[in-house]
């Protein structure tokens, strides 16, 4: 796999604010890459820079090693599927898809053939004559994809394309997009704020926050080995605690010593400890490594979501066994359930479930006002 698209030191400044700060990113051929992050993290700006709608203020963009920073959108081998599809309302499905071909004066019989092929690819063969307004959200989505794919781009850019769809349709379209990527054999760059979507679809996930890339990796890497508190919190649920590493494979947090699998930190280096809710075992208090009081239990179908107060830090535990509110329980944590991260700008911002929901806020507010104060620090 060669580096197909590469951003080197790319920054973008709007009104004195760095919405993108020194981005380095290499995207390989035939990869399904997701730019993942909360709104305002710079993911859409990154996509628009690749598309050519935004010019970087610093840094350069390379396609196959060639600087394309000054090349207009239509001369780049990429096409975009816009967030709200941006279909041309005065044209029917066929003409929307045929748009790029018509611009180039492609012979009519070739237009007919290629549009039919495209509509077949997105499974809209029978909708050619349909007006855009008479299509469902999912169908409009498919038209937008077909329109973007017809000129044979090397890379398809998708800007939150599933955001406007309902949950069921979104699942279908996720599978559909993966299929399309396999069948067309081109690179897909997909922007989303939905971590589940990112994990289930991508070859590579690029997690962004505050205009910077926080982590690049495969979905399993990102989930199992988050590099900082932001990534750990944004991808899935995490309990993130202050800790230290007295020695390799030893860590200490919640006033308790634990064995872990991480190494390579300085002696007694302060670290962030990530423990996923599903990796904690609920045991009897006397058997637990940590002991706490259950403050809330929510039934989630597959499991219960249990909030446990341990020294004013609220843990989230997922367990298939029911425990009652107010019960004392013990927690058992295996060494491989503990993930140790370097301290970062995000340390202390995430990972305590004190303010997890409004309902719990109220409960906490009455019984333990100090818990909220700690969460803010």
């Amino acid at each position: 796999m060669e580096r197909f698209i590469e951003l080197r030191g790319v920054s973008k400044i709007y009104d004195g604010e760095r919405v993108l700060d020194n981005i380095d990113l290499a995207i390989h051929d035939k990869e399904f890459v997701t730019l993942l992050g909360p709104s305002g993290c710079g993911k859409t700006t990154t996509l628009r820079i690749i598309a050519g709608f935004v010019r970087p203020d610093e840094g350069s963009l390379y396609f196959n090693g060639q600087d394309v920073s000054e090349v207009p959108p239509y001369k780049r081998p990429v096409n975009t599927v816009f967030q709200r599809y941006a279909l041309f309302p005065h044209l029917n499905v066929f003409e929307n898809v045929a748009f790029a071909l018509r611009l180039r004066g492609t012979p009519e019989n070739e237009v007919q053939r290629r549009v039919r092929e495209m509509l077949e690819l997105v499974r809209l063969e029978n909708y050619a004559k349909r007006g855009i307004a008479k299509l469902s959200g999912g169908q409009q989505q498919r038209v937008a994809i077909a329109r973007a794919l017809i000129s044979g781009p090397k890379c398809l850019l998708l800007d939150e394309p599933l955001a406007a769809l309902d949950a069921k349709l979104r699942k279908d379209m996720q599978a559909e997009l993966r299929r399309l990527q396999r069948e067309t054999g081109i690179t897909f760059i997909f922007v989303t704020h939905d971590q589940e979507e990112a994990l289930s679809m991508s070859d590579t996930v690029v997690v962004m926050a505050n205009g910077r890339i926080q982590q690049i990796g495969s979905p399993t890497d990102i989930y199992n080995e988050p590099q900082n508190a932001f990534v750990a919190d944004f991808i899935g649920e995490s309990n993130i605690l202050d800790g230290v590493m007295p020695a390799d494979r030893r860590c200490r947090f919640a006033r308790t010593n634990f064995e872990c699998l991480d190494a390579g930190f300085a002696p007694n280096e302060p670290v962030d400890i990530v423990i996923r809710p599903e990796d904690v075992d609920v045991v009897a208090p006397e058997k637990g490594m940590l002991r706490g009081t259950v403050t809330a239990v929510t039934f989630k179908g597959v499991h219960y979501e249990i909030i446990v107060d341990i020294d004013n830090f609220k843990w989230m535990i997922q367990s298939t066994d029911y425990v009652g509110v107010g019960e004392n329980i013990g927690l058992y944590i295996e060494p491989d359930a503990i993930h140790v991260m370097k301290k970062s700008e995000f340390s202390g911002l995430f990972g305590d479930y004190s303010s997890f929901s409004d309902e719990m806020d109220e409960e906490n507010g009455e019984t333990e006002p100090s818990a909220d104060g700690e969460a803010e620090n």
């Binding site: 598309a51 050519g52 709608f53 207009p72 959108p73 239509y74 096409n79 975009t80 816009f82 967030q83 709200r84 941006a86 279909l87 041309f88 309302p89 005065h90 748009f99 790029a100 018509r102 611009l103 180039r104 329109r147 973007a148 000129s151």
Partner: protein, 350 residues
């Protein structure tokens, strides 16, 4: 089975519709009353006058030999008021010298149904005025479109602050009365107006501008241009930026973008603008009067002068007939123009 189901759901739908339309009716009541009194009734009056004649008669009363006589005589062109008095006395068998006239006047009243007024509309003078009106307003509409379209496009693409300022500049003249604006143009174009003075200063001969077709069309364009710009601008500024980006992405140059995207999407605005300039242009009388010094008579001028004649010779009836014909022409034109906008009527007028 499905048919019954469909029927049931249809009846539910109509019930719901009735409910809302009842509420809507109550809300609409003041508007309906307003339009009945100020739109429907005047139109009916126009129709009535257009199809009826005016009858003139002499109303004469006099006393003779202690008896009172009241008499009505049909007016005729060769019958003067004095003649009518004589005739009235003669009819009563009273000698003119014995009669003491207490009242004698020429009166008018609406007579019966007639098509004579419409025939009058087809008179050469009237036909010429209508043709001129049609051609002038067509020219004014076309020129307005040519000026307004690029302007509206540039306006919709400029920054928010600059848009506000430009809008203000467009609206500013409209804060002044149209009569004042037209009168000002008359002053500017006059033989010893500003332009001719400037020309004289440059050693160029005085150019007669007032009274030409160009001056009349200029007056129309100047007065009604904002009505062309605004609807087009509104439609253009509503075009989603991502549509333009999509066009860029798919390989449009600016001309293709204009032709394949912006133009078709702005058709409703164009149609509104065409109608809003064409309709007041074709029926104007003040602009043509001032800008031509009364030398060019458009149909509006003709209607005005006819109605000013009031009853004499049935002027009001002929004026009403002309107005009616003009109204039908405008209606047909509007209908034809609206045909071109296959849209759901977003920017439709009338």
């Amino acid at each position: 089975m499905t048919g019954a189901k469909a029927g049931a759901s249809a009846s539910v739908l109509t019930e719901k519709k009735e409910k809302t339309s009842l509420g809507a009716k109550l809300l609409n009541a003041p508007y309906l009353l307003w339009s009945a009194v100020f739109i429907v009734v005047p139109i009916l009056m126009v129709v009535f006058y257009a199809f009826s004649e005016t009858v003139g008669y002499y109303e004469i009363s006099f006393t003779a030999g202690g008896r009172e006589y009241v008499c009505e005589l049909p007016a005729a062109e060769d019958l003067t008021l004095e003649g009518a008095k004589e005739q009235a006395a003669a009819q009563a068998g009273v000698s003119l010298a014995d009669a003491t006239f207490t009242h004698a006047s020429l009166e008018y009243r609406s007579g019966g149904f007639t098509l004579a007024n419409l025939k009058e509309v087809w008179s050469p003078a009237s036909r010429r005025a209508m043709l001129l009106s049609f051609l002038y307003s067509l020219a004014a509409t076309a020129i307005s479109l040519v000026i307004a379209y690029p302007f509206a496009y540039a306006l919709s693409r400029s920054g928010a602050k600059s848009q506000r300022i430009q809008m203000l500049l467009i609206m500013l003249p409209m804060w002044m009365n149209m009569l004042v604006r037209t009168y000002s143009w008359q002053q500017i174009l006059e033989n010893n107006g500003v332009i001719n003075k400037a020309l004289a200063f440059l050693g160029l001969g005085p150019a007669t501008m007032l009274g030409t077709s160009g001056a009349v069309i200029l007056g129309m364009v100047y007065n009604y241009l904002p009505y062309m710009i605004l609807p087009i601008y509104t439609v253009m500024s509503k075009i989603d930026v991502s549509l333009l980006e999509a066009a860029d992405d798919l390989g449009c140059n600016w001309l293709q973008k204009l032709w394949r995207l912006i133009l078709p999407l702005s058709v409703p605005g164009i149609i509104s603008g065409l109608i809003m300039v064409f309709v007041p242009s074709i029926s104007t009388f003040y602009i043509s009067q001032k800008m031509s010094n009364g030398m060019i008579k458009l149909v509006g001028d003709l209607i005005e002068s006819k109605i000013k004649d009031q009853w004499a010779g049935g002027g009001l009836n002929v004026g009403a007939a002309m107005s009616l014909v003009l109204m039908v022409i405008i209606l047909v034109c509007t209908f034809v123009m609206n045909r071109f906008s296959d849209d759901d009527g977003g920017g439709m007028v009338v």
